[in-house]
Protein backbone atom coordinates (compact mmCIF):
# COMPACT_ATOMS: atom_id res chain seq x y z
CA UNK A 1 0.00 0.00 0.00
CA UNK A 2 1.31 3.42 -0.93
CA UNK A 3 -0.56 6.29 0.73
CA UNK A 4 0.36 9.92 1.20
CA UNK A 5 0.39 9.55 4.98
CA UNK A 6 2.84 9.51 7.89
CA UNK A 7 1.17 6.54 9.57
CA UNK A 8 -2.37 5.10 9.61
CA UNK A 9 -2.92 6.55 13.11
CA UNK A 10 -1.93 10.05 12.00
CA UNK A 11 -4.27 10.32 9.01
CA UNK A 12 -7.08 12.19 10.76
CA UNK A 13 -5.04 14.49 13.04
CA UNK A 14 -2.81 15.41 10.09
CA UNK A 15 -5.81 16.11 7.84
CA UNK A 16 -7.47 18.24 10.52
CA UNK A 17 -4.30 20.31 10.87
CA UNK A 18 -4.38 20.82 7.13
CA UNK A 19 -8.06 21.84 7.17
CA UNK A 20 -7.27 24.38 9.91
CA UNK A 21 -4.37 25.81 7.94
CA UNK A 22 -6.28 25.95 4.65
CA UNK A 23 -9.55 27.46 5.88
CA UNK A 24 -9.24 30.33 8.36
CA UNK A 25 -13.03 30.76 8.29
CA UNK A 26 -13.29 27.44 10.11
CA UNK A 27 -12.39 26.54 13.67
CA UNK A 28 -10.81 23.13 14.05
CA UNK A 29 -10.88 21.63 17.53
CA UNK A 30 -8.04 19.14 17.28
CA UNK A 31 -8.66 17.65 20.71
CA UNK A 32 -12.38 16.90 20.26
CA UNK A 33 -12.07 16.47 16.49
CA UNK A 34 -14.72 18.98 15.55
CA UNK A 35 -14.78 21.31 12.54
CA UNK A 36 -17.02 24.32 13.10
CA UNK A 37 -17.53 27.84 11.83
CA UNK A 38 -15.18 30.34 13.44
CA UNK A 39 -18.15 32.56 14.25
CA UNK A 40 -21.71 31.68 15.14
CA UNK A 41 -24.87 33.64 14.39
CA UNK A 42 -26.94 34.28 17.53
CA UNK A 43 -30.51 32.94 17.32
CA UNK A 44 -29.84 30.74 14.28
CA UNK A 45 -30.71 27.05 14.25
CA UNK A 46 -27.49 25.03 14.32
CA UNK A 47 -27.00 22.32 11.71
CA UNK A 48 -24.60 19.50 12.59
CA UNK A 49 -23.57 16.38 10.78
CA UNK A 50 -20.82 13.84 11.09
CA UNK A 51 -19.84 10.31 10.40
CA UNK A 52 -16.81 8.23 9.61
CA UNK A 53 -13.90 9.86 7.82
CA UNK A 54 -12.84 8.86 4.33
CA UNK A 55 -15.84 10.49 2.59
CA UNK A 56 -14.33 13.94 2.17
CA UNK A 57 -15.45 16.57 1.45
CA UNK A 58 -18.41 15.12 3.42
CA UNK A 59 -18.93 16.44 6.13
CA UNK A 60 -16.19 18.88 7.17
CA UNK A 61 -16.02 20.38 3.68
CA UNK A 62 -19.63 21.49 4.01
CA UNK A 63 -19.11 23.57 7.15
CA UNK A 64 -19.56 27.26 6.52
CA UNK A 65 -22.03 29.99 5.69
CA UNK A 66 -25.30 28.63 4.30
CA UNK A 67 -24.66 25.00 5.17
CA UNK A 68 -23.35 23.19 8.28
CA UNK A 69 -22.33 24.85 11.54
CA UNK A 70 -20.22 21.95 12.72
CA UNK A 71 -19.11 18.48 11.73
CA UNK A 72 -17.74 15.58 13.77
CA UNK A 73 -15.36 13.35 11.78
CA UNK A 74 -14.87 9.85 13.22
CA UNK A 75 -12.08 7.42 12.50
CA UNK A 76 -11.95 6.20 8.90
CA UNK A 77 -15.32 4.59 8.12
CA UNK A 78 -16.24 4.64 11.84
CA UNK A 79 -18.90 6.87 13.34
CA UNK A 80 -17.79 9.61 15.74
CA UNK A 81 -18.28 9.02 19.47
CA UNK A 82 -21.01 10.69 21.60
CA UNK A 83 -18.71 13.17 23.41
CA UNK A 84 -17.36 14.35 20.07
CA UNK A 85 -20.83 14.83 18.60
CA UNK A 86 -21.81 16.68 21.80
CA UNK A 87 -18.84 19.02 21.32
CA UNK A 88 -19.97 19.68 17.72
CA UNK A 89 -23.53 20.30 18.95
CA UNK A 90 -22.29 22.76 21.56
CA UNK A 91 -20.18 24.54 18.92
CA UNK A 92 -23.28 24.87 16.71
CA UNK A 93 -25.74 25.90 19.40
CA UNK A 94 -26.74 29.53 19.10
CA UNK A 95 -29.86 29.34 21.24
CA UNK A 96 -32.40 28.13 18.66
CA UNK A 97 -31.79 24.40 18.83
CA UNK A 98 -29.65 22.10 16.73
CA UNK A 99 -30.51 19.76 13.86
CA UNK A 100 -28.51 16.54 13.60
CA UNK A 101 -28.34 15.17 10.07
CA UNK A 102 -27.40 11.51 10.46
CA UNK A 103 -26.70 8.99 7.73
CA UNK A 104 -28.51 5.73 8.40
CA UNK A 105 -25.84 3.36 9.68
CA UNK A 106 -26.24 1.52 12.97
CA UNK A 107 -23.14 3.10 14.51
CA UNK A 108 -23.97 6.65 13.44
CA UNK A 109 -27.56 6.39 14.61
CA UNK A 110 -26.58 4.98 18.03
CA UNK A 111 -23.78 7.47 18.68
CA UNK A 112 -25.86 10.47 17.56
CA UNK A 113 -28.76 9.27 19.71
CA UNK A 114 -26.50 9.12 22.77
CA UNK A 115 -25.06 12.55 21.93
CA UNK A 116 -28.55 14.05 21.57
CA UNK A 117 -29.39 12.81 25.07
CA UNK A 118 -26.21 14.38 26.43
CA UNK A 119 -27.07 17.67 24.67
CA UNK A 120 -30.57 17.67 26.10
CA UNK A 121 -29.04 17.28 29.57
CA UNK A 122 -27.36 20.62 28.81
CA UNK A 123 -30.63 22.22 27.66
CA UNK A 124 -29.78 22.18 23.98
CA UNK A 125 -32.81 21.13 21.97
CA UNK A 126 -31.86 18.57 19.33
CA UNK A 127 -33.92 17.18 16.47
CA UNK A 128 -32.46 14.39 14.34
CA UNK A 129 -33.16 13.63 10.69
CA UNK A 130 -31.82 10.31 9.44
CA UNK A 131 -31.03 10.10 5.72
CA UNK A 132 -31.54 6.81 3.87
CA UNK A 133 -31.52 7.43 0.12
CA UNK A 134 -29.60 4.39 -1.18
CA UNK A 135 -32.00 2.26 -3.22
CA UNK A 136 -29.46 -0.59 -3.47
CA UNK A 137 -30.51 -1.79 -0.03
CA UNK A 138 -33.93 -3.35 0.10
CA UNK A 139 -36.02 -1.45 2.58
CA UNK A 140 -37.37 -4.23 4.69
CA UNK A 141 -37.21 -5.82 8.08
CA UNK A 142 -34.33 -7.91 6.79
CA UNK A 143 -31.67 -5.20 6.85
CA UNK A 144 -30.46 -2.33 9.00
CA UNK A 145 -32.40 -0.18 6.52
CA UNK A 146 -31.27 1.89 3.59
CA UNK A 147 -27.97 3.70 3.81
CA UNK A 148 -27.61 7.46 3.83
CA UNK A 149 -25.46 8.54 0.91
CA UNK A 150 -25.46 11.43 -1.63
CA UNK A 151 -28.89 12.77 -0.71
CA UNK A 152 -27.31 13.81 2.59
CA UNK A 153 -25.42 16.60 0.78
CA UNK A 154 -28.68 18.01 -0.56
CA UNK A 155 -30.27 17.77 2.89
CA UNK A 156 -27.31 19.62 4.43
CA UNK A 157 -27.43 22.35 1.79
CA UNK A 158 -31.18 22.92 1.99
CA UNK A 159 -31.34 22.73 5.81
CA UNK A 160 -28.33 25.02 6.09
CA UNK A 161 -29.86 27.59 3.75
CA UNK A 162 -33.17 27.56 5.62
CA UNK A 163 -31.39 27.96 8.96
CA UNK A 164 -29.41 30.87 7.53
CA UNK A 165 -32.72 32.35 6.38
CA UNK A 166 -33.98 32.35 9.98
CA UNK A 167 -36.25 29.30 9.80
CA UNK A 168 -37.02 27.61 13.12
CA UNK A 169 -35.82 24.14 14.12
CA UNK A 170 -39.06 22.43 13.15
CA UNK A 171 -38.98 23.97 9.67
CA UNK A 172 -35.31 23.18 9.11
CA UNK A 173 -35.93 19.57 10.15
CA UNK A 174 -39.01 19.33 7.92
CA UNK A 175 -36.98 20.49 4.90
CA UNK A 176 -34.19 18.00 5.57
CA UNK A 177 -36.81 15.24 5.86
CA UNK A 178 -38.47 16.37 2.63
CA UNK A 179 -35.14 16.32 0.77
CA UNK A 180 -34.48 12.81 2.02
CA UNK A 181 -37.93 11.64 0.92
CA UNK A 182 -37.39 13.11 -2.55
CA UNK A 183 -33.83 11.81 -3.02
CA UNK A 184 -32.61 8.44 -4.30
CA UNK A 185 -29.06 7.23 -4.97
CA UNK A 186 -27.27 4.25 -6.49
CA UNK A 187 -23.57 3.43 -6.80
CA UNK A 188 -21.37 1.15 -8.90
CA UNK A 189 -17.68 0.60 -8.12
CA UNK A 190 -14.86 -0.39 -10.46
CA UNK A 191 -12.40 -1.10 -7.66
CA UNK A 192 -12.50 -0.76 -3.87
CA UNK A 193 -10.83 1.88 -1.77
CA UNK A 194 -8.10 1.01 0.71
CA UNK A 195 -8.53 1.84 4.40
CA UNK A 196 -5.10 3.03 5.62
CA UNK A 197 -5.19 0.81 8.73
CA UNK A 198 -6.22 -2.24 6.68
CA UNK A 199 -3.62 -1.73 3.96
CA UNK A 200 -5.52 -3.49 1.21
CA UNK A 201 -8.71 -2.89 -0.77
CA UNK A 202 -12.04 -3.75 0.88
CA UNK A 203 -12.84 -6.18 -1.94
CA UNK A 204 -11.20 -7.38 -5.11
CA UNK A 205 -12.76 -7.29 -8.56
CA UNK A 206 -11.60 -9.05 -11.69
CA UNK A 207 -10.93 -7.03 -14.85
CA UNK A 208 -14.41 -7.79 -16.18
CA UNK A 209 -16.33 -7.22 -12.91
CA UNK A 210 -18.04 -4.26 -11.22
CA UNK A 211 -19.60 -4.07 -7.76
CA UNK A 212 -23.25 -3.10 -8.14
CA UNK A 213 -25.09 -1.30 -5.38
CA UNK A 214 -21.91 -0.67 -3.44
CA UNK A 215 -21.96 1.40 -0.24
CA UNK A 216 -19.59 4.16 0.79
CA UNK A 217 -17.44 2.11 3.17
CA UNK A 218 -15.90 -0.40 0.84
CA UNK A 219 -18.58 -2.81 1.97
CA UNK A 220 -19.30 -5.03 -0.99
CA UNK A 221 -22.48 -4.41 -2.92
CA UNK A 222 -25.41 -6.71 -3.32
CA UNK A 223 -24.04 -8.36 -6.42
CA UNK A 224 -21.17 -8.53 -8.84
CA UNK A 225 -21.95 -7.50 -12.36
CA UNK A 226 -20.19 -7.52 -15.67
CA UNK A 227 -18.11 -4.51 -16.62
CA UNK A 228 -19.79 -2.51 -19.39
CA UNK A 229 -19.52 0.84 -21.18
CA UNK A 230 -20.46 3.88 -19.07
CA UNK A 231 -23.79 4.31 -20.88
CA UNK A 232 -24.94 0.91 -19.62
CA UNK A 233 -23.61 1.38 -16.09
CA UNK A 234 -25.32 4.77 -15.72
CA UNK A 235 -28.50 3.36 -17.26
CA UNK A 236 -28.46 0.48 -14.77
CA UNK A 237 -28.16 2.90 -11.83
CA UNK A 238 -30.91 5.20 -13.11
CA UNK A 239 -33.20 2.26 -13.87
CA UNK A 240 -32.79 1.14 -10.24
CA UNK A 241 -33.63 4.62 -8.97
CA UNK A 242 -36.56 5.02 -11.37
CA UNK A 243 -38.00 1.65 -10.35
CA UNK A 244 -37.98 2.78 -6.73
CA UNK A 245 -39.28 6.31 -7.17
CA UNK A 246 -40.33 7.26 -10.71
CA UNK A 247 -38.26 10.19 -11.96
CA UNK A 248 -40.05 13.09 -13.62
CA UNK A 249 -40.06 16.87 -13.79
CA UNK A 250 -37.19 19.03 -12.57
CA UNK A 251 -34.45 17.14 -10.82
CA UNK A 252 -31.13 17.83 -9.13
CA UNK A 253 -28.47 15.31 -10.16
CA UNK A 254 -25.22 14.68 -8.33
CA UNK A 255 -22.82 12.68 -10.48
CA UNK A 256 -20.38 11.78 -7.76
CA UNK A 257 -16.95 10.20 -7.97
CA UNK A 258 -15.96 7.85 -5.21
CA UNK A 259 -12.53 9.40 -4.76
CA UNK A 260 -10.63 7.46 -7.39
CA UNK A 261 -12.46 8.35 -10.61
CA UNK A 262 -10.98 10.85 -13.10
CA UNK A 263 -13.23 13.86 -13.61
CA UNK A 264 -13.13 13.33 -17.37
CA UNK A 265 -14.91 9.99 -16.84
CA UNK A 266 -17.44 11.54 -14.47
CA UNK A 267 -18.39 14.12 -17.11
CA UNK A 268 -18.89 11.29 -19.58
CA UNK A 269 -21.12 9.58 -17.04
CA UNK A 270 -23.05 12.81 -16.47
CA UNK A 271 -23.67 13.16 -20.22
CA UNK A 272 -25.17 9.67 -20.24
CA UNK A 273 -27.32 10.55 -17.23
CA UNK A 274 -28.67 13.66 -18.97
CA UNK A 275 -29.52 11.61 -22.07
CA UNK A 276 -31.28 8.96 -19.99
CA UNK A 277 -33.27 11.58 -18.06
CA UNK A 278 -34.22 13.42 -21.29
CA UNK A 279 -35.52 10.14 -22.61
CA UNK A 280 -37.68 9.74 -19.52
CA UNK A 281 -39.16 13.23 -19.62
CA UNK A 282 -37.11 14.64 -16.74
CA UNK A 283 -35.06 17.84 -16.77
CA UNK A 284 -31.74 18.28 -15.01
CA UNK A 285 -32.44 21.66 -13.42
CA UNK A 286 -29.42 21.66 -11.09
CA UNK A 287 -26.33 19.48 -10.91
CA UNK A 288 -23.02 18.74 -9.26
CA UNK A 289 -20.32 16.74 -11.07
CA UNK A 290 -17.27 15.77 -9.03
CA UNK A 291 -16.14 14.18 -5.78
CA UNK A 292 -18.69 15.14 -3.12
CA UNK A 293 -19.10 11.95 -1.04
CA UNK A 294 -16.15 9.65 -1.47
CA UNK A 295 -14.90 6.28 -0.29
CA UNK A 296 -11.18 7.06 0.01
CA UNK A 297 -9.69 6.05 -3.36
CA UNK A 298 -12.54 3.86 -4.57
CA UNK A 299 -13.24 4.11 -8.30
CA UNK A 300 -16.69 4.27 -9.78
CA UNK A 301 -19.62 6.63 -9.45
CA UNK A 302 -22.74 7.23 -7.49
CA UNK A 303 -25.71 9.10 -8.82
CA UNK A 304 -28.19 10.95 -6.66
CA UNK A 305 -31.47 12.26 -8.06
CA UNK A 306 -33.54 14.71 -6.02
CA UNK A 307 -36.97 15.61 -7.27
CA UNK A 308 -37.17 19.39 -6.92
CA UNK A 309 -39.83 21.83 -5.77
CA UNK A 310 -39.66 25.63 -6.11
CA UNK A 311 -38.86 25.86 -2.41
CA UNK A 312 -36.01 23.34 -2.65
CA UNK A 313 -34.56 25.15 -5.69
CA UNK A 314 -34.63 28.43 -3.79
CA UNK A 315 -32.70 26.95 -0.87
CA UNK A 316 -30.31 25.08 -3.18
CA UNK A 317 -29.54 28.35 -5.02
CA UNK A 318 -29.10 30.35 -1.80
CA UNK A 319 -25.56 31.63 -1.11
CA UNK A 320 -23.12 29.13 0.33
CA UNK A 321 -19.49 29.45 1.32
CA UNK A 322 -17.80 26.24 2.41
CA UNK A 323 -14.55 24.53 1.36
CA UNK A 324 -16.43 22.27 -1.06
CA UNK A 325 -19.50 24.27 -2.18
CA UNK A 326 -19.32 27.98 -2.86
CA UNK A 327 -21.66 30.16 -4.84
CA UNK A 328 -23.70 33.36 -4.61
CA UNK A 329 -21.30 35.03 -2.19
Amino acid sequence: MKKLINSPDAVIPDALRGVAAAHPSLHVDLENRVISRAQRTPGKVGVVSGGGSGHEPLHGGYVGFGMLDAAAPGEVYTSPVPDQILAATQAADAGAGVLHIVKNYTGDVLNFRMAAELAEDEDIQVVSVVTDDDVAVEDSTFTAGRRGVGGTIVAEKVAGAAAEDGADLETVARLATEVNERSRSFAIALHAGTVPAAGKPGFNLAENEVEIGVGIHGEPGRERGEFAPVKELVGYALDAIHADRPISGDVLVIMNGQGGTPLIELYGAFAEAVDWLDGHGATVARNLVGNYITSLDQAGFSITVTSLTDELVRYWDAPVSTPALRWGV
Partner: protein
Protein backbone atom coordinates in the same frame (compact mmCIF):
# COMPACT_ATOMS: atom_id res chain seq x y z
CA UNK B 1 -14.48 -17.65 44.12
CA UNK B 2 -16.50 -14.50 43.55
CA UNK B 3 -16.10 -11.79 40.96
CA UNK B 4 -14.46 -9.14 43.16
CA UNK B 5 -13.26 -5.77 41.95
CA UNK B 6 -9.73 -6.94 41.16
CA UNK B 7 -11.03 -9.92 39.16
CA UNK B 8 -13.44 -7.65 37.29
CA UNK B 9 -10.58 -5.37 36.28
CA UNK B 10 -8.57 -8.45 35.32
CA UNK B 11 -11.50 -9.63 33.14
CA UNK B 12 -11.61 -6.45 31.06
CA UNK B 13 -7.82 -6.31 30.89
CA UNK B 14 -7.76 -9.90 29.64
CA UNK B 15 -10.52 -9.13 27.11
CA UNK B 16 -8.41 -6.24 25.82
CA UNK B 17 -5.40 -8.58 25.48
CA UNK B 18 -7.41 -11.25 23.63
CA UNK B 19 -8.94 -8.74 21.24
CA UNK B 20 -5.58 -7.10 20.61
CA UNK B 21 -4.01 -10.51 19.90
CA UNK B 22 -6.86 -11.39 17.52
CA UNK B 23 -7.25 -7.93 16.01
CA UNK B 24 -6.31 -9.02 12.50
CA UNK B 25 -8.70 -11.98 12.58
CA UNK B 26 -11.60 -9.75 13.69
CA UNK B 27 -10.67 -7.25 11.01
CA UNK B 28 -10.59 -9.97 8.35
CA UNK B 29 -14.04 -11.24 9.42
CA UNK B 30 -15.37 -7.69 9.26
CA UNK B 31 -13.75 -7.02 5.88
CA UNK B 32 -15.60 -10.04 4.46
CA UNK B 33 -19.08 -8.82 5.35
CA UNK B 34 -18.68 -5.34 6.86
CA UNK B 35 -16.17 -2.55 6.62
CA UNK B 36 -13.05 -4.12 8.10
CA UNK B 37 -12.55 -2.03 11.21
CA UNK B 38 -13.99 -4.11 14.05
CA UNK B 39 -10.63 -5.39 15.34
CA UNK B 40 -8.98 -1.97 15.44
CA UNK B 41 -12.03 -0.24 16.92
CA UNK B 42 -12.65 -2.70 19.70
CA UNK B 43 -8.95 -2.94 20.58
CA UNK B 44 -8.95 0.85 20.95
CA UNK B 45 -12.22 0.80 22.93
CA UNK B 46 -11.14 -1.94 25.35
CA UNK B 47 -7.80 -0.21 25.92
CA UNK B 48 -9.84 2.89 26.85
CA UNK B 49 -12.02 0.75 29.11
CA UNK B 50 -8.92 -0.47 30.97
CA UNK B 51 -7.68 3.11 31.28
CA UNK B 52 -11.09 4.28 32.54
CA UNK B 53 -11.04 1.63 35.28
CA UNK B 54 -7.57 2.78 36.33
CA UNK B 55 -8.36 6.48 36.58
CA UNK B 56 -10.21 6.24 39.86
CA UNK B 57 -9.99 2.98 41.76
CA UNK B 58 -13.46 1.41 41.47
CA UNK B 59 -15.23 0.80 44.78
CA UNK B 60 -17.02 -2.32 43.58
CA UNK B 61 -17.10 -4.78 40.70
CA UNK B 62 -20.23 -3.01 39.45
CA UNK B 63 -18.49 0.37 39.41
CA UNK B 64 -15.55 -1.19 37.55
CA UNK B 65 -17.84 -2.46 34.78
CA UNK B 66 -19.65 0.89 34.59
CA UNK B 67 -16.29 2.66 34.17
CA UNK B 68 -15.30 0.15 31.48
CA UNK B 69 -18.59 0.75 29.69
CA UNK B 70 -18.04 4.50 29.71
CA UNK B 71 -14.55 4.02 28.28
CA UNK B 72 -15.96 1.84 25.50
CA UNK B 73 -18.65 4.36 24.57
CA UNK B 74 -16.16 7.23 24.63
CA UNK B 75 -13.48 5.70 22.41
CA UNK B 76 -14.74 2.85 20.24
CA UNK B 77 -17.03 4.56 17.73
CA UNK B 78 -19.10 2.57 15.28
CA UNK B 79 -21.97 0.44 16.53
CA UNK B 80 -19.84 -1.74 18.80
CA UNK B 81 -18.93 1.17 21.13
CA UNK B 82 -22.49 2.04 22.19
CA UNK B 83 -23.55 -1.63 22.17
CA UNK B 84 -20.72 -3.06 24.28
CA UNK B 85 -20.54 0.12 26.36
CA UNK B 86 -24.23 -0.06 27.21
CA UNK B 87 -23.91 -3.77 27.86
CA UNK B 88 -21.10 -3.36 30.40
CA UNK B 89 -22.82 -0.41 32.10
CA UNK B 90 -26.04 -2.41 32.49
CA UNK B 91 -24.06 -5.40 33.77
CA UNK B 92 -22.28 -3.14 36.25
CA UNK B 93 -25.54 -1.67 37.54
CA UNK B 94 -26.93 -5.16 38.05
CA UNK B 95 -23.75 -6.45 39.68
CA UNK B 96 -23.30 -3.62 42.17
CA UNK B 97 -21.29 -4.84 45.16
CA UNK B 98 -22.10 -8.48 44.50
CA UNK B 99 -20.13 -11.09 42.66
CA UNK B 100 -21.27 -14.62 43.43
CA UNK B 101 -22.07 -16.91 40.54
CA UNK B 102 -25.80 -16.11 40.61
CA UNK B 103 -25.20 -12.37 40.60
CA UNK B 104 -22.72 -12.63 37.71
CA UNK B 105 -25.35 -14.59 35.78
CA UNK B 106 -27.86 -11.81 36.40
CA UNK B 107 -25.27 -9.23 35.32
CA UNK B 108 -24.59 -11.08 32.05
CA UNK B 109 -28.32 -11.25 31.43
CA UNK B 110 -28.60 -7.49 32.03
CA UNK B 111 -25.79 -7.01 29.48
CA UNK B 112 -27.72 -9.08 26.96
CA UNK B 113 -30.96 -7.14 27.54
CA UNK B 114 -29.17 -3.79 27.25
CA UNK B 115 -27.58 -4.72 23.93
CA UNK B 116 -30.86 -6.17 22.61
CA UNK B 117 -32.79 -3.02 23.50
CA UNK B 118 -30.27 -0.59 21.99
CA UNK B 119 -29.49 -2.52 18.83
CA UNK B 120 -32.90 -4.06 18.25
CA UNK B 121 -31.37 -7.39 17.21
CA UNK B 122 -32.61 -10.80 18.27
CA UNK B 123 -31.01 -14.22 18.08
CA UNK B 124 -30.52 -15.31 14.48
CA UNK B 125 -29.84 -11.84 13.09
CA UNK B 126 -26.08 -12.64 12.87
CA UNK B 127 -24.86 -10.25 15.56
CA UNK B 128 -23.30 -10.13 19.05
CA UNK B 129 -26.57 -11.58 20.35
CA UNK B 130 -25.94 -14.92 18.64
CA UNK B 131 -22.93 -15.51 20.89
CA UNK B 132 -24.15 -13.68 24.00
CA UNK B 133 -27.66 -15.15 24.31
CA UNK B 134 -26.59 -18.83 24.39
CA UNK B 135 -23.69 -17.88 26.68
CA UNK B 136 -26.09 -16.36 29.21
CA UNK B 137 -28.32 -19.43 29.08
CA UNK B 138 -25.33 -21.76 29.53
CA UNK B 139 -23.94 -19.67 32.40
CA UNK B 140 -27.24 -19.66 34.26
CA UNK B 141 -27.83 -23.38 33.69
CA UNK B 142 -24.38 -24.18 35.03
CA UNK B 143 -24.91 -21.89 38.01
CA UNK B 144 -28.30 -23.51 38.66
CA UNK B 145 -26.63 -26.93 38.68
CA UNK B 146 -24.22 -25.83 41.36
CA UNK B 147 -21.21 -24.92 39.20
CA UNK B 148 -18.75 -22.40 40.57
CA UNK B 149 -17.97 -19.12 38.81
CA UNK B 150 -15.14 -20.55 36.72
CA UNK B 151 -17.11 -23.57 35.53
CA UNK B 152 -20.09 -21.37 34.67
CA UNK B 153 -17.83 -18.94 32.80
CA UNK B 154 -16.26 -21.85 30.89
CA UNK B 155 -19.71 -23.09 29.93
CA UNK B 156 -20.64 -19.58 28.79
CA UNK B 157 -17.46 -19.21 26.73
CA UNK B 158 -17.99 -22.60 25.09
CA UNK B 159 -21.61 -21.71 24.30
CA UNK B 160 -20.46 -18.40 22.82
CA UNK B 161 -17.97 -20.25 20.61
CA UNK B 162 -20.76 -22.57 19.46
CA UNK B 163 -23.02 -19.55 18.90
CA UNK B 164 -20.29 -17.92 16.82
CA UNK B 165 -19.90 -21.04 14.67
CA UNK B 166 -23.67 -21.09 14.21
CA UNK B 167 -23.59 -17.60 12.66
CA UNK B 168 -21.82 -18.94 9.56
CA UNK B 169 -24.93 -20.13 7.67
CA UNK B 170 -27.04 -17.15 8.80
CA UNK B 171 -28.02 -14.20 6.61
CA UNK B 172 -27.42 -10.94 8.46
CA UNK B 173 -30.50 -8.87 9.26
CA UNK B 174 -28.86 -6.13 11.35
CA UNK B 175 -25.74 -4.03 11.04
CA UNK B 176 -23.64 -3.42 7.98
CA UNK B 177 -23.51 -7.07 6.95
CA UNK B 178 -27.27 -6.91 6.32
CA UNK B 179 -26.62 -4.75 3.22
CA UNK B 180 -25.09 -7.81 1.59
CA UNK B 181 -28.29 -9.81 1.74
CA UNK B 182 -27.62 -13.48 0.87
CA UNK B 183 -23.92 -12.74 0.35
CA UNK B 184 -23.50 -12.43 4.13
CA UNK B 185 -24.05 -16.21 4.38
CA UNK B 186 -20.92 -18.35 4.84
CA UNK B 187 -19.00 -16.04 7.18
CA UNK B 188 -18.61 -15.78 10.95
CA UNK B 189 -20.09 -12.62 12.42
CA UNK B 190 -17.30 -10.37 13.73
CA UNK B 191 -19.45 -9.09 16.64
CA UNK B 192 -20.21 -12.63 17.76
CA UNK B 193 -16.48 -13.38 17.46
CA UNK B 194 -15.51 -10.51 19.77
CA UNK B 195 -18.25 -11.48 22.23
CA UNK B 196 -16.79 -15.00 22.37
CA UNK B 197 -13.39 -13.49 23.24
CA UNK B 198 -14.88 -11.34 26.01
CA UNK B 199 -16.53 -14.40 27.59
CA UNK B 200 -13.36 -16.47 27.19
CA UNK B 201 -11.56 -13.71 29.09
CA UNK B 202 -13.99 -14.15 31.99
CA UNK B 203 -13.28 -17.89 32.06
CA UNK B 204 -9.52 -17.22 31.96
CA UNK B 205 -9.45 -14.82 34.91
CA UNK B 206 -11.71 -16.94 37.11
CA UNK B 207 -9.57 -20.07 36.68
CA UNK B 208 -8.34 -21.37 40.02
Amino acid sequence: MTLDTATTIAWITRAAELVRADESRLTALDAAIGDGDHGANLARGLAAAVTAMGEKEPESPGKALIAAGRGLVAKTGGASGPLYGTGFRRAGKELGDGGDVGQVGAALEAMLRGIEELGGATQGDKTIIDALAPAVVAFQEAAGNGSDLHAAAEAAADAADAGLAATVPLQARKGRASYLGPRSVGHEDPGAASTALILRALADVTAP
